[in-house]
């Protein structure tokens, strides 16, 4: 297990956003987390990346506890993420966006910066090259000097992924990466996620609403509803799971679909 989440609990005021979720993510897998709106998916990501502090529970990543770490420390530990609504550094160039992504791997010395030491120059060179490589990897080679807010939506999603990859993570969390894309774009995006795993060996976890994408790419699916895990398993298992259908379509839908009960 690369990531092990145990009995995670998080409430905001009286609202329990995440109540007792346990999830395990295999090293080198592609997994999805699905569930209706408000099921606690994004809250789970925010807990994993240190943006929220869990009330209870344990998060172990690569043998290290992530509890109590700040988001930048979580990033340094090897967990990178993208956001549900695109959060690029809109005024910076595409290349600069990706360069910022390398931050947790850099040495930030004021003196070396002011005196432009050889090691500083080498590091800057390395950062530029790496960001440039990553832009080619996501299919944006040659567009690095454009201001990122000027790029079309689909390309901005790609920048976000390149930026997340820049920290050389072991695990990348993608929050609704194909939201707002047309079928062609989301096919291309799906292919990119697969390449992230196959070519870079990075474990991928997606939050996704597009079932076509989820069923096509996931090796493992976790279903959340009202802050709880209601099912997990392979795409085939999830597709026929009663509780999942119930969560998505309501009880009546299950009753009219007798005989197709599956268990997770």
């Amino acid at each position: 297990m690369l990531l092990n989440v145990q009995n995670l609990v998080k409430s905001f005021g009286g609202i329990a956003a995440v109540r007792d979720i346990s999830v395990g993510i295999e090293d080198g897998s592609i997994s999805s987390i699905i569930g209706p709106n408000g099921a606690g998916k994004t809250t789970l990501f925010n807990l994993l990346t240190g943006i929220y502090k869990p009330d209870k529970g344990a998060i172990t990543f690569d043998g290290q506890s992530l509890l109590g770490l700040r988001p930048d420390q979580v990033n340094k530990a090897g967990v990178a993420r993208t956001f549900q609504t695109i959060r690029l550094f809109a005024g910076m160039t595409v290349l600069e966006n990706v360069m910022v992504g390398t931050h947790s791997r850099l040495e930030l010395s004021l003196w070396k910066t002011l005196f432009r030491t050889p090691s500083f120059r080498k590091q800057e060179q390395f950062v530029r090259e790496r960001a440039s490589d990553l832009l080619r990897f996501v299919g944006l080679g040659g567009r690095g000097d454009e201001i990122s807010r000027n790029l079309p939506y689909g390309d901005q999603r790609r920048i976000e992924i390149a930026r997340a990859l820049a920290s050389s993570p072991k695990l990348i969390l993608l929050d609704e990466p194909t939201a707002g894309m047309n079928p062609n774009e989301s096919d291309a995006a799906t292919a990119l996620f697969r390449r992230v795993r196959d070519e870079l060996g990075i474990t991928v976890v997606l939050i996704e609403h597009d079932m076509r994408v989820v069923m096509e790419i996931s090796e493992h699916i976790t279903v959340l509803d009202y802050g709880q895990k209601i099912a997990e398993g392979s795409p085939a298992e999830i597709r026929s799971n009663t509780r999942v259908i119930e969560a998505y379509l309501g009880r009546r839908a299950v009753e009219t679909k007798e005989g197709t009960h599956g268990t997770a």
Binding site: K76, F83, T93, M99, L110, D133, F137
Partner: protein, 474 residues
């Protein structure tokens, strides 16, 4: 930052613009401009009735000249030599004849340095700081307390330092103001935008009031009376020689060569300090630290999720901006030889902020231009308008046709009293027509720089693994 979209261009206009952009043409225009601006300033006749008005038109042209040259399509080395020539030769020589130009140049350098420091905090890192003048006060008081003969505890106990310690105190002020910057930064780390502005505003006032009240029970700052006869760095002999040499070469005798030489020394000190500030600001901007600041400015949550250590970077921004102001404060105190708490009021912070906004937040060149524009407006243009009005009043000038006696112009409408109004008007107009400032910050183009090294890289990109460094305990 708005993208400047070109206005629809007609054929003739486009041709004209292309013609203008040709290096030879542009070079000729720029060189012509520089010569014209020097010529105007040199040929001004101080005895003339219209001298103040002519002065208003002439000197700003010369001050802006370095920025114009910098923006021209001339070859880099030529640009540099013209700019250095202007700053190191032309202005000092002109200044020997008319020290008011030196005074203006010193004020501009001091404020440009301050604006660049504030730009690190606001322009780079996006932290709205309305108490910036406090760090300037820290530097100024640091030097003043240790050199003023006022009856402070330092004077009574004989802790005063000799004048040559000036240069050491510039370094000390960098440290002291940086430290105060961190102390201010710590409690306000969680605040953003307006809330941060209010707290920093309060902090700026606190430092000023502290300076006013710290004469009891131990007299540290001499309170509201201020500190007088502050030490000045020793006047080097060659400054006097240079002054006399220039005067001699043009066949005039100065009746106060030492005063002129001292102004010249402060001119070069402030230019030198400004140069260091520019260098530091540029190097920080074009580095991982600068990118981290920009990332924080653009989106704090995304920045921290991408591994930017928010606390460290914000404190570094506060400390860097503060240390610039501290160093410049020492110079300011030495130049003024008198400071009191009223030198560090809120309006000063706001004036510096106005420079940053007018020039163009984030861009170094723009901020310097902003400092030039605002300082010239404040100390040169409005002041000379008042002089002109007085000159006309004295000879009972009558505007023809309207038959208006300048004498009847009410003294309440004296131009130098317009200052806040003019500032406000400029800021409002800027927000409407050029919200990104006169010279908005351009983003650096770097991708080709990266690809030049590795032109044969595969299209898919070979992404090398980066060794994970051991956490460095932050």
């Amino acid at each position: 930052m708005t993208t400047q979209t070109a206005a629809p261009q007609t054929g003739a206009w486009a041709t004209f613009k292309a013609w203008l952009a040709r290096p030879a043409i542009a070079g000729a225009i720029v060189v012509g401009y520089v010569i014209l601006s020097i010529g105007l300033v040199v040929t001004l006749n101080r005895g003339s009735l219209w001298y103040p008005l002519a002065n208003i038109c002439a000197f700003p042209l010369l001050v802006i000249a370095p920025i114009v040259v910098l923006g021209s399509p001339l070859p880099g080395r030529l640009k540099l030599s013209i700019i250095l020539g202007l700053i190191i030769v032309i202005l000092p020589v002109i200044g020997v004849f008319n020290t008011s130009y030196l005074e203006l140049a010193i004020q501009i350098s001091i404020f440009a340095g301050l604006a660049l420091g504030l730009n690190v905090v606001i322009g780079f890192a996006g932290l709205l700081d309305l108490g910036y003048i406090a760090f300037f006060a820290v530097g100024a008081y640091l030097w003043a307390m240790f050199t003023s003969p006022a009856e402070t505890i330092f004077q009574i106990n004989g802790w005063l330092v000799p004048d040559w310690a000036f240069f050491i105190f510039i370094l000390l002020a960098v440290g002291a103001a940086g430290l105060v910057g961190i102390l201010l930064g710590l409690p306000v780390l969680r605040l953003r935008g307006d809330y941060l502005a209010i707290v920093t505003l309060g902090f700026g006032e606190m430092i000023r009031i502290l300076a006013r009240n710290a004469d009891q029970p131990i007299n540290l700052t001499n309170g509201a009376q201020g500190l007088h006869n502050i030490g000045r760095p020793p006047l080097p002999g060659f400054a006097v020689d240079f002054t006399n040499g220039v005067a001699g070469a043009f066949g005039i005798t100065l009746n106060n060569p030492d005063t002129v030489a001292r102004q010249l020394m402060f001119y070069f000190l402030s230019i030198g300090l400004l140069f260091i500030v520019i260098l530091v600001a540029r190097r920080l901007e074009n580095s991982a630290i600068g990118r981290a600041w920009t990332a924080i400015r653009e989106d704090e949550t995304a920045a921290i999720a991408m591994g930017v250590p928010l606390v460290r970077m914000k404190l570094l921004a506060f400390a860097t901006g503060a240390s610039f102001a501290g160093a410049i404060g020492v110079l300011y105190a030495a130049k003024q030889t008198f400071i009191d708490p009223s030198s560090f009021v809120l309006i000063q912070s706001i004036t510096i902020l106005a420079m940053v906004i007018v020039g163009g937040m984030g861009g170094i060149r723009g901020v310097i231009l902003g400092a030039m524009v605002i300082t010239l407006l404040d100390l040169h243009i409005l002041a000379n308008l008042s002089l002109q009005l007085n000159a006309l009043r004295n000879i009972d000038f009558v505007i023809p046709i309207l038959n208006f006696h300048i004498r009847d112009w009410p003294s309440q409408l004296e131009p130098s009293k317009y200052q806040p109004f003019v500032f406000g008007l400029i800021l409002v107009l800027m927000m409407i027509f050029r919200p990104a400032g006169l010279l908005p910050e351009p983003r650096r183009k770097m991708e080709l720089l990266a690809e030049k090294i590795d032109p044969t890289a595969p299209i898919t990109g070979e992404v090398k693994a980066v060794p994970t460094r051991a956490p460095s305990g932050d």
